[in-house]
Structure formats: structure tokens, C-alpha cells
Symmetry: C2
Subunit: 294 residues, 2 copies
């Protein structure tokens, strides 16, 4: 059954990623929480805290089903059953020299016959290192290009558009790719699944080398405070705009798994002014004017 294959893939990907991240961190281990969804299905939440590298890292797998939430029923104008499975991860390193990263891949099916994939990977650095941005985007683009030459340019733009904090007039990070409602007939869906598998496996090679590059770098308290301020923007995006988060809160998802995406610490200072020519300003300039990296 197709849905079983998707869910098996996401579950195995979770194993592969958490195992690799434990080796990378070298300190903490993931704690695992198995949970049941009262209305059908459940999940496997894995969270690592206070590691050598990761202050908070969450990698969730879930496969849930039941009656479609009202939000979706209004759209289709019919009561229906849904099935959704996927993996969602957010890694918040303690060092401001290492970027935060988010990835999410999911498969969704409705009893009305609709089925689609969605997902993406995006990077949120605290300081701009062009070489990192290029590595991240190039790695992702290479995988995209083996499937469809249109994927990367289309999904890169979609990512910049999606992760936009309107009231700040800036993006959450330096992007990556984002796609949703990728659907088609049986054959096309197989092709999309093949793409999703490849891009899911591209997560580790797109991110881990950036961690390796910066994990031993020194940082100052001022740099840490800047990271916490940027964490504030991350929280603003997730709570005000992120459709996945709001959908989860609205439909009574498992709160601890949904809000695991939030950083351990965030700060808000009044009317922060950046020093002209500073590294902080350099980052914000790119968030206000997304660039091509690959």
C-alpha cells in the first residue's frame, strides 16, 4: 500500500537522521516519546536537549488518520477521512556560529481521492557565511536537478515567499526549498515520492558539514544575545504565520511535539539598532533581499 511505503520511509529517515545527529553531537542522546492520537494514529517524538552542539533538537515522525479537520472539509465541501504521515525536524544549536535548520516532509491522503506530498528544508543562520549558504543550496539543488530542472528554482522562490515575516519585512532565514500539494496520477505520485525520498536523504549532507565547520568556533556573549534576538523572530514566524503550527494548534495536535520547534530561549529588546557595516546588519540585509545561492 502506497501510504504504508511513505510512512515506512519517513520512520526510517527519522532513525537515520537521529542516529547521525547523536554521533555529530557526541554528548546528549535523543529521548523518545511514543504517543497516540485519540482520533487515530500516533507518533514518535525524539528530542535532544543540552547536547555539546544542540541546545534543543527535535525530530518527529507521525502517521495519523481519522475524520478530516473542519479546515479541510470546508475546502472539499464533504466530510471525509484523511491520512497524514511525515517527518518534521528543527535543530537549534547553542552556538550562534552554527545555523538553525528546519526540514519537513509529509504525505497526505483524503478519502475523496486527493493525495499529495509537501515539505522542504531551510536554513536560519545567525551570521552569514556565504560558503555555507552556497553549500546548503547547491547540495539541495543537485538533488532537485536529478528529478526536474524546474524544481529548484520554483521551490527556492516558494521557500523565500513562505518563510516571510511580513511585519518585519524580512525572511526567517536564508531559505532552501519549500513545496506543497505536489500531486498527480499514480505514476506521477511515484515520481514525486522518489523525489521526496532523495531530498529527505539530502538533509544530512546539506547540513552536517556546516556544523562540522563551525562547531569549535569561539563565540561571545554579545553574539549569543544576537542569536536569542533572532530566536525571537523565529518564534514570531512560527506562531504568527506558520501554517503547520497553526493547523496543529487549531486541530488539537500534540502541543509538545508541535511547539518543540521553538528555541529554548528567545529575547525581545525594544527598537534594536544594528551597527552600520556589522555582521548582524550583513545578515539582515540578506533576509530583506533574498539572494541566489546556487
Amino acid at each position: 500500500m502506497f501510504r504504508q511505503r511513505t510512512s515506512d520511509f519517513f520512520r526510517n529517515l527519522q532513525d537515520e537522521i537521529t542516529s547521525s545527529l547523536e554521533s555529530l553531537d557526541g554528548g546528549a542522546k535523543f529521548r523518545e516519546d511514543l504517543w497516540d492520537r485519540p482520533d487515530g494514529g500516533g507518533g514518535r517524538t525524539r528530542v535532544m536537549t543540552d547536547g555539546n552542539i544542540f541546545e534543543k533538537a527535535g525530530v518527529n515522525f507521525s502517521a495519523v488518520h481519522g475524520e478530516s479537520p473542519k479546515m479541510l472539509q470546508d475546502k472539499s465541501n464533504a466530510a471525509s477521512q484523511f491520512y497524514a504521515t511525515g517527518i518534521s525536524l528543527v535543530l537549534h544549536p547553542r552556538s550562534p556560529k552554527i545555523p538553525t535548520v528546519h526540514a519537513n516532509f509529509r504525505y497526505f491522503e483524503q478519502s475523496t481521492g486527493e493525495a499529495w506530498f509537501g515539505g522542504g528544508i531551510d536554513l536560519t543562520p545567525y551570521y552569514l557565511v556565504e560558503q555555507d549558504a552556497k553549500h546548503f543550496h547547491t547540495t539541495i539543488k543537485s538533488t532537485c536537478d536529478t528529478h526536474d530542472a524546474d524544481y529548484y528554482p520554483r521551490f527556492k522562490q516558494w521557500c523565500d515567499d513562505y518563510f516571510y515575516i511580513k511585519h518585519r519585512a524580512e525572511t526567517r532565514g536564508i531559505g532552501g526549498i519549500f513545496f506543497d500539494h505536489l500531486n498527480g496520477n499514480r505514476v506521477e505520485l511515484e515520481k514525486i515520492f522518489s523525489f521526496v525520498q532523495d531530498i529527505g536523504r539530502t538533509f544530512l549532507p546539506s547540513y552536517n558539514p556546516i556544523v562540522e565547520e563551525h562547531k569549535d568556533e569561539h563565540f561571545t556573549d554579545a553574539e549569543r544575545q544576537w542569536q536569542l534576538l533572532r530566536h525571537g523572530r523565529y518564534v514570531e514566524f512560527n506562531l504568527v504565520y506558520d501554517k503547520g503550527t497553526l493547523f496543529g494548534l487549531e486541530t488539537g495536535g500534540r502541543i509538545e511535539s508541535i511547539l518543540m520547534s521553538l528555541p529554548t530561549l528567545a529575547r525581545w529588546d525594544y527598537d534594536v539598532q544594528l551597527q552600520h557595516g556589522s555582521e548582524e546588519e550583513k545578515l539582515v540585509n540578506v533576509l530583506k533581499n533574498p539572494r541566489s545561492w546556487a
Copy 2:
């Protein structure tokens, strides 16, 4: 002109409150930012940071006008002009032994003829001190009762309903009063204005004695971390549910003045479990089951 009298009152109330809070704090002073709204009117934002008592305290006055935002036009089905004036304050003390407090009073007028007052005062303690809760609610109730015996019970309930964090199944704090769209004919509007003035002047006597009571109390780092966790809930409420905040973000208000309500530091830990019988649990029990305090 009625609107001028309302705006004069709110401006003077801001002076009265910031002057009293500077004396209370004894350390920092308010910084004042005057700002213009591109489409009409402006405001006077006052923020105090890193005081003896207040980690972050914002007291805003504004009087703005122009074309009604789309959100309101859809409601009235006609393009119209609006005028809005008010005062909004949020005080975040550094000590977890002193509650955060929020108050807001506003007058709104539309060229279609509608005019109303809204506002409220509510307390967000980190530890429950019943005597404080009683003092706060009783002080507010006394003022309400001199105007209308129905006000306090009605507005107390409204407050518990409004400041509800649905996904956490708990209120933001221990309430106070909340009211909106209080309107009527000319004579009734004068009566409501008289109530709003009295309740606005009740802010200081409802809150300052609680600060005096606890300002010299010792607190531990564990208590401070609990406060930061509760700050996280404050952020969740303001960014996910608070109509004033979302309206401001949506209509392009002055971001720094709107988000001044957020605490300097907030934290999110995964799946926090409270010790049975602890002071932290005692607070959360009241947030899950609001009580009568006056």
C-alpha cells in the same frame, strides 16, 4: 470635541502612570519615542528597561486616524474613516515574585457614526499569592461597582474568556476585567467615558501595592527559569490569539510599539512536568480553573 477629551485623558494618564512607575522603580527612567503614523496621527511610546524592578516596561499612548482598515470595512460594508486613541501598558518585572501586569483603554470612532470604548486590566503572576489576587480584583471591583453593579461580574468573565490560551487549556494569568465595544447614545457614551477614566486611574492602586509587597523578596534561579517558561506562554497568547496584536501586525502598526508587550526573555522546554503539590502547580491549577477573587 468628545474625541479630543478622550485623547487628552489617555495622554495625561500616560504621564501619571509613567511618573509613578519611575518613582516605584527608583532606578531606570522611561525613554520616550514620538512617532507619526504615515496615514494619520501618531503616538508617544515610553519604554523603561533594566530598572531596579522592571526588566521591561512599556506605556504607549496613541491617537491615530485615517481610512478604516479592510478588516473593519468588511464588517461595515462601506469604506470609512476611523479615529482611535488609547493607552496600552505592559510591565514585566525581573523578579518572578512580582506579577506582570497589562492594561489597555481605548476609544474608537468610525465616520459611519459608530463609537465605542474598550479596555481592561489583568494580572499575570508567576506564583499565586491569594492576598494579591484579592487585592487586585477587589480594587477593580470597587471602581466598577460605583458605575454599574453588572460591570465587574460581566467584565471579569469576559477577561477569563478572552485571555484563554486554547492549545494549553489555561488562561494567561489570573484575570481582572476586559470589555469591548461599550457603546450607546451621547449620554451613555459620557457615562462609559466616566467609567473608563475611573478604571484607568485605578490601575496604579490595583498594582503598585503588590509590587511594594514583593520587591525585596529573594528569588532563586529555578524560580527565574519558571518565570521565563511562563513568559513563553505570554508570548504564545500575544502572538497566536491577542486581537490587538494581530490587528496591529495586520494593519501595519508601529511594530516596536506593538511587540513591546513581549518579555525580554522567554523560554520553551520540552514536556515540562510540574512537581505535585509545588507552587508552580498551584499557579497552573488556578489558570486551568479560574476562581472568584472579589
